[in-house]
């Protein structure tokens, strides 16, 4: 059922990563398309986060990556840091798992929202500030003007994650990598974030790589789903197919372990 219509905004081919001589990714292949949410599932430690970090060249100290990460016709793995910095934040942005730790606790929201905007887009302080307020409004932070002056710890977890998403969107990137953006949040709050992500993808034509281990979340927002195990993608396909008729036994076992059998409807 896979539609080969659009070209991939980002494609990962044969990505291998080793940390301290320890192989954690053994050749990951992924293609992410504009305007679609690509879900990446898999158990803890399967290498989901490392895949996302490898794209931005943010692997931990002592790592080595090989393979190819194609973006805009270039291989990100080969790119010198200076040029990679032009891509990071501007073309490819990332949202991390825990909003409590991914925002700098000692800098105002404004600072964190505008710094890279001014750097990448070359806009002035005033304009950056206006755009920032607009972004906060877009992610539905009440009182955006006033919120700019506050510090992260003055917001709740859900709001912080919205701010983190606003930070990621600030330079209008083409690709957004969201590493378990809702895991640290309550279900009621999670629903809001998922809706936001889906909306951004649909409205802005963003290509989203959504990393999660929650198949429910996957089912709710992803268009494509990939399943990872032990540093390899074992299955990729459209959401409906992977979740309803998994081909790989591992995917099936994941689904079987769920407390509520798939297919059974909620009230």
């Amino acid at each position: 059922m896979r539609t080969e219509s659009r070209p991939a905004a980002l494609s990962i081919e044969g990505l291998r990563v080793s940390i301290g001589g320890h192989d954690v990714l053994h050749g990951v292949d992924l293609a992410i398309e504009a305007g679609r949410v690509h879900g990446l599932a898999g158990e803890s430690g399967s290498g989901k986060t490392m895949t996302g970090l490898a794209v931005l060249g943010l692997l931990p100290h002592g790592s080595r990556a090989s393979g190819r990460i194609a973006f805009g016709g270039r291989d990100l793995l080969e790119m010198p840091v200076r040029e990679l910095n032009e891509v990071r934040g501007a073309k490819i942005a990332m949202v991390f798992q825990d909003p409590a730790t991914s925002l700098h606790p000692m800098l105002t929201v404004e600072r964190q929202l505008t710094e890279h905007m001014r750097h990448h887009l070359g806009v002035g302080r005033k304009e950056a500030r206006e755009r920032a307020a607009g972004l906060l409004a877009k992610v539905r932070i009440p009182g955006p003007e006033e919120a700019l002056r506050r510090y992260p710890h003055q917001f709740s977890g859900g709001m912080r994650q919205r701010i983190a998403i606003a930070v990621a969107l600030a330079c209008e990137p083409e690709v957004l990598i969201a590493d378990e953006p809702t895991t640290a949040l309550d279900v009621t709050v999670q629903a809001g974030i998922l809706r936001l992500l889906r909306g951004l993808c649909d409205d802005l034509g963003l290509a989203v790589l959504l990393v999660t281990h929650d198949l429910g979340v996957m089912s709710a927002v992803a268009d494509e789903v990939s399943v990872m195990k032990d540093g390899l993608v074992v299955e990729t396909g459209p959401r409906g197919q992977v979740l309803r008729e998994p081909r790989h036994p591992y995917t099936r076992s994941l689904l079987d372990a769920l407390p509520v059998p798939p297919g059974e409807n909620s009230p």
Binding site: N85, M106, E115, H120
Partner: protein
Amino acid sequence: MRSPLARFLVRRIVTALLLTVGITLITFVLTNLVPGDPVAANLGQRAVGDPAIVAQWRADHGLDRPLPQQYLMHLEGLLHGDLGTSQQSHRPVLDDLAESVPATLELAGAAILVSLVLGVGFGVVAALRRDRLSDHVLRVLSLVGISVPTFWLALVAFYVFFFRLQITPGSGRIDPGMTPPPQVTGLYTVDALLSGRWDVLSSAVGHLAAPALVLALYTIGLLTRFTRSAVLEVLGQDYVRAARAKGLPGRVVLFRYVLRPALVPVITVAGLAFGSLLSGTVLVEAVFAWPGVGQYAYKSATTLDLPAVMGVGLVVGVVYLVINLVVDVLYGVIDPRVRVS
């Protein structure tokens, strides 16, 4: 409206004041445990033989009262700014301290300044160049720094730099014969600067260099180590990764995102290190004939000069208080979570 920071500071001040009282109590108790009679130490040989004079002297110094009362008298004096009279110098302890404390503060201040600049610098470099050669070298050097016996290093430095190489000037704070600058702060370097006495300034800096560096070696090592681990810890934080993910240049990430939080533990350590510098001065001042509070303390402690020892205790307590406050205020400046919330 009292801000949380103000409330926090008030609490710290109160605690520190209580601590100071505690310190005076400890010094009082300790000095009274010392075997040996201050009377013998302070009266002339012949006068000691005359019971009337001894009794008179004891009464004058309140030594005939019960200990708790003596302590209360001491505290009462403190409230009136009276630290008593040194039994050794026969001068008000306050005057003695007014001379020796600035000397030590100048020494320790110079040392902490050097340590902060070098220690933090080295620490950052080591962290950024983690596991490379420069990191290893800096780590070993910082360990050496905290392992060198200060008193020995002072001797070696004095011998080598003053005597053999003849590049540092001799004992004291300025060249003998040079008139000290008009006293404003008591720190010769600052006072010389204020009064435009360039010759004095260069002499004072020259005299300060060797002892301050000797004193600083330990704290440089200490701060290098803590800065390194603090920076490494911050480098591992999500928000740094997030900042890098934003495509900010390394320099910006380092100075805006990494250093600030890394400085929080470093400030704590620097505050504590200042305390250890004050300790170190006891050993260094003797070798460099630096007329500071370390020598004064040593002399007072060994001569059972009770008012002087208690004066030193008090000064040290106040310095501790001030340093703690500075550290707390710096916390507030650095970390909005302390300031706002």
